[in-house]
Amino acid sequence: MIAFAVALLPALAGALPFWLKLPPAESSFADEIDRIFRLILWITGVIFIVVEVLLVYFLIRYRHREGRRAHYTHGNNRLEVIWTIVPAIICVVLALLSRRVWADIKQRMPEDAMHLEVTAEQFAWNIRYPGPDGKLDTPDDILTLNQLHFPVGTKVVVSLHSKDVIHSFFLPEFRVKQDAVPGMTTKVWFDAAHVGNWEIACAELCGLGHYRMKGFLVAESPEDFKKWLAEQAAAGAPQPAAAAAAGGPAPTPAGAPANAPPPAPGVSPPADGKVSVPPADRTPAAAPGQEGKQPS
């Protein structure tokens, strides 16, 4: 057993660089997150090695021997102060570094961005694009199911809603994760430097189909995106068959939001109770910065 473990160690160590890799970083802030991740990995890695080496060294160096006595001491105040202050400083520095990146990702949404709405439900993602008028929540909105396309090089601000339970909008390669909470609007943004295909994962347990609540994320050239959006608009609402297959109701048809209930999340009365209820707290007033800022 021990020989086996010893033989295994180099193999495991050799595989480390492979396993310590994060997925490719696609959004413009992904690298900043990865940088903090690697910084913490270095700091904690060094502390880990120092502590474990000391631990093992002490166990060997101070192992029991007949006739020897342990060193009688109750501690050392100077050491206590040092090992209180040094970790405190490291932690404060990490917190300050993190604060700035966090504010860029979650606190401030970019100004010059394309705005989308994503409404999660068991177990699908309903994506809503503004129509020709450039505004969301108007009758000409374009709806897709599980297909989020966006133009490369453009910042996308997503307003997240949920129809039923909590879901989480997770784009691993973009280092994006934000819960979609019923009765609330949460926002998150991202962008892509190059064209490609990725997946949208659900990261919050949402029921028996949680594991297959998958969407598709496509970054394409502005021209291709325009063409694709026009095709979706022409096709109207997405195929009901697809919606049924996803285990959920047909997505909200265009036009329904016209009678969206008033603002004030959580206190508005239940909507009329039929299918296609728009998220209760959505309010046209909540989207002022979005008007007239559409890309292309």
């Binding site: 057993m1 209180t84 691993p172």
Partner: protein
């Protein structure tokens, strides 16, 4: 049992002590003796540990070989595993119940119910807990809770399946098992509160003469602070669970916002509630809960390191203060579970800072443990090996916590296997190794005999190695973005290629599980066949070792008086390298008849 003030006392018993019960029922089943209740909790938690481990095995089976049938499970759970093949909703039940059982029915009863009950009165020199009948009630309230939680597997729709965190609104709309989950934990909460009140009162009021607060063993310090946390945190969870129960069965809407549409049907009663309210309430309990499960193990570890390094604990006061510091800061960090929940991101920054600060007292403890080993005269007994494993594994669990404390990093690793790896390094690498250490350490006191050292070491070695092989790779899976709680990760492109690693982890878990058979056999066989221990086999200072093994019903034949701190090992003025807390200083007169505690 007569009231503590019962005046009639057998002649040979010390003043104020009542005789042991003689009937089988009062002696072993409905006992008010803290030592018997401690053992009852020990059996209870070991039984639930086995069930929780079995559920973990099923979860890992699905992750290693998705959809591969297990024949006998098809017969045991025809609804959840028809033909032995696991359904997604059953998978959700498995990890929900694994966590619930391990946290509430295994780790907590073992650390607080078993060690808290058995050790606290003995270490402070008391004859029993302050409220022996509350103690009896607390155990027998915990039993139906366990029956209900296991029974919930067999009701229509199966056991609870919304995670141990039971986030609303999902938990409000799940099948019946969720209601049983709530009832079971509400009942268990009463049990925990009774124990908490008992430990707090006992520690404050029942200490032997001379046992000042800063002469308390660190195990008592840790359990005392833990009991305060429990007393303050648990009612918050119970309140939240009652609200969720009302949402489920009485049509209230505490956690149900307006306009909910589930599977195309509008929830007619929804409206006015807040989904995030549950998370705030749950984690306001849930974070102190994490410390409730780790502090007692920290206390036990401190105790054992000092005994087997034959050295005073390094920085005793710093250790006691850092327990208090962790407990105090533990109340203002709950939001770090909710960074991505939709909670205001500015609050996220606040919680990040408080979370970073709470790393400091944990660091102090680790360095003081190292300081305790430095210059020692270390014997690697089985309890010591487990205590050292606690230190080295807690370091990993503590350091990995810094990743998720950083809000931007948490954006990526939140709800991934990185988090699962972290909590298992704290709860298994930490709490469970601490519990194993305590088990091997106090077994001679509990049963009068040693557990077998050789088998103990084999058990430790296999557990330590396999534990790391199962749980360390979880960090890697998390770094690949593998979400937790997913039934079939092959759905996602970014998780393709992770199956071999998952299979490796599952096989390691099976070896880890098999190694626990050694522990169970050693535990039961040693009761009859183990080497007789004698009163103080580890030559330790604390009071529980200054009486026979197992101690008599009334714990001490004398009334112990305490003259010094608990960790006076290798004092230069003595030839002997230990110095019991109740040994009178040389030259001093033996104590006159000290006041007895009922």
């Amino acid at each position: 049992m007569p009231a503590p003030a019962a005046p009639a006392v057998a002649h040979e018993l010390p003043h104020g002590v009542h005789p042991a019960p003689t009937s089988f029922w009062r002696k072993y089943i409905f006992s008010t003796d803290h030592k018997v209740i401690g053992k009852q909790y020990l059996f209870y938690s070991l039984f639930m540990l086995i069930i929780g481990g079995f559920l973990a095995g099923l979860v890992r089976w699905q992750l290693a070989w998705p959809g591969k049938p297990i024949g006998f499970m098809g017969k045991l759970m025809p609804e959840g595993m028809p033909g032995g093949q696991m359904l997604p909703e059953f998978y959700n039940s498995l990890f929900t119940m694994h966590a619930t059982i391990m946290i509430f029915f295994a780790i907590m009863p073992m650390l607080i119910g078993a060690f808290g009950n058995f050790v606290v009165p003995l270490q402070i020199g008391a004859r029993d807990m302050a409220f022996p009948r509350l103690n009896l009630a607390s155990f027998w309230v915990a039993v139906p809770a366990a029956v209900i939680i296991i029974w919930s597997f067999f009701v229509t729709g199966g056991a609870a399946q919304s995670g141990w965190t039971s986030y609303a609104p999902l938990a409000a709309i799940q099948p019946r098992g969720q209601t049983l989950w709530l009832l079971s934990l509400l009942i268990l909460g009463i049990s925990s509160l009774l124990t908490a009140v008992n430990i707090i009162t006992t520690t404050i009021n029942m200490r032997a003469p001379g046992m000042t607060f800063f002469r308390l063993p660190l195990t008592v310090w840790a359990l005392f602070i833990t009991a305060i946390l429990l007393l303050l945190a648990l009612p918050v969870l119970s309140g939240a669970m009652i609200m969720l129960l009302f949402d489920r069965v009485l049509g209230t809407t505490f956690f149900l916002p307006a306009g909910l549409v589930v599977s195309g049907n509008a929830l007619s009663n929804a409206g006015g509630g807040q989904a995030l309210l549950w998370q705030h309430l749950f984690w306001f309990f849930g974070h102190p809960e994490v410390y409730i499960m780790i502090l007692p193990a920290m206390g036990i570890t401190s105790e054992i390191l000092s005994v087997f390094a034959r050295k005073p604990i390094f920085g005793y006061r710093a250790m006691a203060y850092s327990i208090m510091g962790i407990a105090g800061l533990g109340w203002i960090v709950w939001g770090h579970h909710m960074f991505q929940s939709g909670m205001n991101p500015i609050l996220g920054t606040t919680f990040m800072i408080s979370t970073m600060v709470i790393a400091v007292p944990s660091a102090i403890k680790v360095f003081n443990w190292l300081g305790t080993l430095w210059g020692g005269n270390i014997t690697l007994t089985t309890p010591m090996l487990n205590a050292i494993s606690f230190v080295s594994m807690f370091v990993i669990g503590g350091l990995s916590g810094i990743f998720m404390a950083s809000t931007p990093v948490d954006v990526f690793i939140h709800d991934t296997y990185f988090i699962v790896g972290h909590i298992h390094y704290v709860l298994f690498g930490g709490s469970l190794f601490g519990a194993f250490a305590g088990l091997y350490f106090w077994y001679p006191k509990m049963f009068g005999r040693f557990m077998n050292e050789t088998w103990g070491k084999i058990h430790w070695f296999l557990t330590f190695v396999c534990f790391n092989l199962v749980f360390f790779p979880m960090h890697f899976l998390g770094m690949r973005g593998m979400q937790r709680r997913i039934y079939d990760y092959s759905q996602y492109a970014h998780l393709k290629g992770l199956q071999p690693m998952n299979q490796f982890m599952t096989i390691s878990l099976f070896v880890l599980g098999a190694a626990q058979v050694i522990l169970v056999l050693n535990f039961f066989l040693s009761m009859r066949r183990g080497k007789v221990a004698g009163p103080n086999p580890w030559r330790a200072n604390t009071l529980e070792w200054q009486t026979s093994s197992p101690p008599p019903h009334h714990n001490f034949d004398h009334n112990p008086t305490v003259y010094r701190g608990p960790y006076e090992y290798s004092a230069p003025e003595r030839a002997d390298d230990h110095w019991p807390q109740d040994e009178p200083p040389s030259g001093a007169a033996a104590p006159t008849h000290a006041h007895a505690h009922g």
